[in-house]
C-alpha cells in the first residue's frame, strides 16, 4: 500500500498534545513527517506520509482532537501573469511559502514550504493563486 500524504493544521491548544504518538501507538500507523512548522501564533502545520490499515480511524481520531486534516494530492501554483506582487498574501500564508523579499519588496513563492491550506486562494485580490490537480 502506498503511503497517504496529508496535511494537518492545528491551533495553539493542540501544539503540546502528543497526537502523532497516539497515531502510531493506537492505530499502528507508520508515520513519516515530511514537513512541520509552528508559527509565532503557535498554530502548527504538518505534512505527513502515513501507511497502515487503520489510517481512516487514525484520521478520525485527529479530527476528533480538533485537527484539520486535508489530502495532499493537490498542488498550489502562482499564475505569474496575474500576480502583481502586492504582498496581500504574505502575512496570511501560515508557512512563509509566500514571502516578501527585502528591500526589493518583490513577492516570491516557494512551493516547497506550501502546505496547500488554500488561504491564499481566498485572499489573493488578483486571484493569482491556483490549484493544479
Amino acid at each position: 500500500m502506498s503511503p497517504k500524504r496529508i496535511v494537518l493544521r492545528f491551533g495553539a491548544d493542540i501544539s503540546d498534545k502528543p497526537v502523532i504518538y497516539r497515531l502510531v501507538k493506537d492505530f499502528n500507523l507508520v508515520v513519516n513527517i515530511v514537513k512541520a512548522n509552528v508559527n509565532p501564533r503557535k498554530e502548527g502545520t504538518m505534512v505527513l506520509e502515513i501507511t497502515g490499515e487503520q489510517w481512516g480511524e487514525g484520521l478520525d481520531y485527529l479530527r476528533s482532537q480538533g485537527v484539520a486534516v486535508q489530502d495532499l494530492n493537490q498542488e498550489i501554483i502562482r499564475n505569474e501573469d496575474k500576480c502583481v506582487m502586492c504582498g496581500a498574501c504574505t502575512a496570511i500564508c501560515p508557512t512563509g511559502a509566500l514571502f516578501l523579499e527585502r528591500p526589493s519588496m518583490e513577492v516570491h513563492f516557494d512551493g516547497d514550504h506550501c502546505i496547500v491550506c488554500q488561504l491564499c486562494l481566498k485572499v489573493c485580490p488578483m486571484r493569482a493563486m491556483e490549484v493544479s490537480l
Partner: protein, 395 residues
C-alpha cells in the same frame, strides 16, 4: 534657485533634463546634500499601484438602429449607471453582478465586478452589452443584447473621482474573530497588520502642500496618459503630528481622467477582496517638477519620515470611533513587523512596491525621451493650509 515649468520643459525637449525617481532622489540627497540635489534635478517621478475603489469609466456606445435611450445597462452582467444621455453610461469599479451571492455565503468571493469589466475592456476582450428601455417616439427600441469591444465604441473615458490617497491607515483587528475588510483579511488579536501606500514612492506623500500638483497636471494613468481633473472626493489634506513631531502628510486625494483606449490591462486590474467586494487596482504616476529647494526637500522624504496611523478595523473603524492606536513609519511597516501593545505583529502591504517602482521608472523614461512634457496646473489643489475638514451624516 527657482526654476519654471517652461525652463524644465525646454530642457526635456533638448534631451537635457535630469529626471530621477523618488527613490533615486533620496540617494542623491544622501550623497550630495539637498541644495546640490535640488539644483541638479529637474523632475522627480513617483508611482503607486493599489486598489482604488472610487474609479470607473464613462462610455458612449454609439447609437442602435432603430434608436434607443438606454435606461438600464449591463456589461457582462454588471450594471452600469445609465441615468445620463441616450447611449452614455458609467461603469463603476465596485459594481457587482445582479445575481452575485454577495456575502450570503460569508465571506463572499466577489470574483467579478465593475473593475474586472474595465480590465476586460482595456484587454480588448468582447463584452456583452445588454440594455433595456421604455421606448419613446424618438427612441423606440426597448431591448438590446449585443457584444462590444473597446475599439467599437465611441468614447471610453476613465474618470476616477478619488484615487491616489496621500496616505492610508495601517489596519489591524483587535477582536477575537477574523474579519474581511477592504484592507484584506485581518486575523484576530493583532494577527497581522495591512497597509496600503508605496511610502516614499507615493505621489501625494511627496508634495504634502500641493505646491505642484493641480488641475491639469499630466500624469501616468493606467499605463497611458491622464490628467488630474480636480481634487478627489474626501480631499482633506493635513500634516499629521504626534509628540510634537511632524509625521508626514495625510488625507489628500486626486480625481483623475484619461482616455481608456490608450491604457493597458497591466495597469488597470480587476480586484476582489474576499468578504468585502470587487474593485479596480490603478497604476498612477505623478511627475514633480523641482521648482525650488523646498519642493525637493518634500520630494526627498524617506520611509523613515512618513507615518501611517494604526487603526482597529474590528471595532473602532466600523463604529467610527475617533482616534488610533499610534503611528508607525513606512520603514517599520516595510520591515515586515511592527510592535503594537507589546506584541510583534507581522505586516503586509496591499500596494505593490515593485509595480510602483516600475511606474516611476516608466514615467522617468517617457520624460527623458521627450515624449512626456510637464503641464503647469490651471489651479493648484486645496492644501493643508486651506483647512478642509470632513462632514459626517446624521442618522
Amino acid at each position: 534657485m527657482e526654476k519654471t515649468y517652461a525652463e524644465i520643459n525646454a530642457r526635456i525637449k533638448a534631451g537635457k533634463a535630469v529626471v530621477l525617481t523618488a527613490d533615486e532622489l533620496i540617494s542623491l540627497v544622501e550623497e550630495k546634500g539637498l541644495s546640490q540635489a535640488a539644483r541638479e534635478v529637474d523632475v522627480v517621478t513617483t508611482g503607486t499601484f493599489a486598489p482604488m475603489c472610487s474609479s470607473g469609466a464613462f462610455l458612449n456606445f454609439g447609437h442602435t438602429k432603430p434608436r434607443m435611450r438606454m435606461q438600464k445597462v449591463w456589461l457582462n452582467g454588471v450594471s452600469a449607471y445609465a441615468g445620463i444621455a441616450a447611449v452614455d453610461a458609467y461603469i463603476g469599479a465596485t459594481e457587482l453582478p445582479e445575481d452575485d451571492p454577495l456575502n450570503s455565503n460569508y465571506p463572499g468571493e466577489f470574483r467579478y465586478g465593475g473593475g474586472h469589466v474595465i480590465q476586460d475592456l482595456v484587454a480588448r476582450k468582447p463584452i456583452r452589452l445588454k440594455a433595456l428601455s421604455y421606448g419613446t417616439d424618438c427612441y423606440p427600441r426597448r431591448e438590446l443584447d449585443t457584444t462590444i469591444t473597446l475599439d467599437d465604441i465611441n468614447e471610453a473615458t476613465l474618470f476616477n473621482p478619488r484615487n491616489a490617497y496621500q496616505n492610508y491607515n495601517c489596519a489591524v483587528n483587535l477582536t477575537a474573530r477574523t474579519i474581511y475588510t477592504y484592507m484584506g483579511m485581518l486575523n484576530p488579536r493583532l494577527g497581522n497588520a495591512h497597509y496600503s501606500t508605496s511610502g516614499q514612492l507615493s505621489p501625494l506623500l511627496k508634495d504634502p502642500h500641493f505646491q505642484t500638483i493641480g488641475i491639469g497636471t499630466k500624469i501616468f494613468l493606467g499605463g497611458g496618459v491622464g490628467h488630474v481633473a480636480w481634487h478627489g472626493t474626501q480631499h482633506f489634506p493635513s500634516i499629521q503630528s504626534g509628540d510634537g513631531r511632524n509625521l508626514g502628510p495625510a488625507g489628500g486625494t486626486l480625481a483623475v481622467i484619461g482616455d481608456l483606449k490608450q491604457m493597458s490591462p497591466r495597469w488597470l486590474v480587476g480586484t476582489s477582496y474576499v468578504g468585502y467586494g470587487a474593485t479596480l487596482s490603478v497604476g498612477i504616476g505623478v511627475p514633480i517638477p523641482i521648482l525650488n529647494e523646498e519642493i525637493a526637500r518634500y520630494a526627498a522624504a524617506t520611509d523613515h519620515e512618513l507615518y501611517a496611523p494604526v487603526v482597529d478595523y474590528g471595532e473602532a473603524y466600523p463604529s467610527r470611533t475617533p482616534g488610533n492606536l499610534g503611528y508607525v513609519s513606512y520603514a517599520e511597516l516595510k520591515s515586515g513587523k511592527i510592535k503594537l501593545n507589546g506584541k510583534e505583529v507581522p505586516t503586509a502591504p496591499l500596494s505593490s512596491v515593485p509595480r510602483a517602482r516600475e511606474i516611476a521608472s516608466t514615467l522617468k523614461q517617457r520624460i527623458e525621451q521627450g515624449s512626456f512634457l510637464l503641464t503647469e496646473p490651471v489651479q493648484l489643489l486645496p492644501s493643508p493650509a486651506d483647512g478642509r475638514t470632513a462632514n459626517f451624516l446624521k442618522g
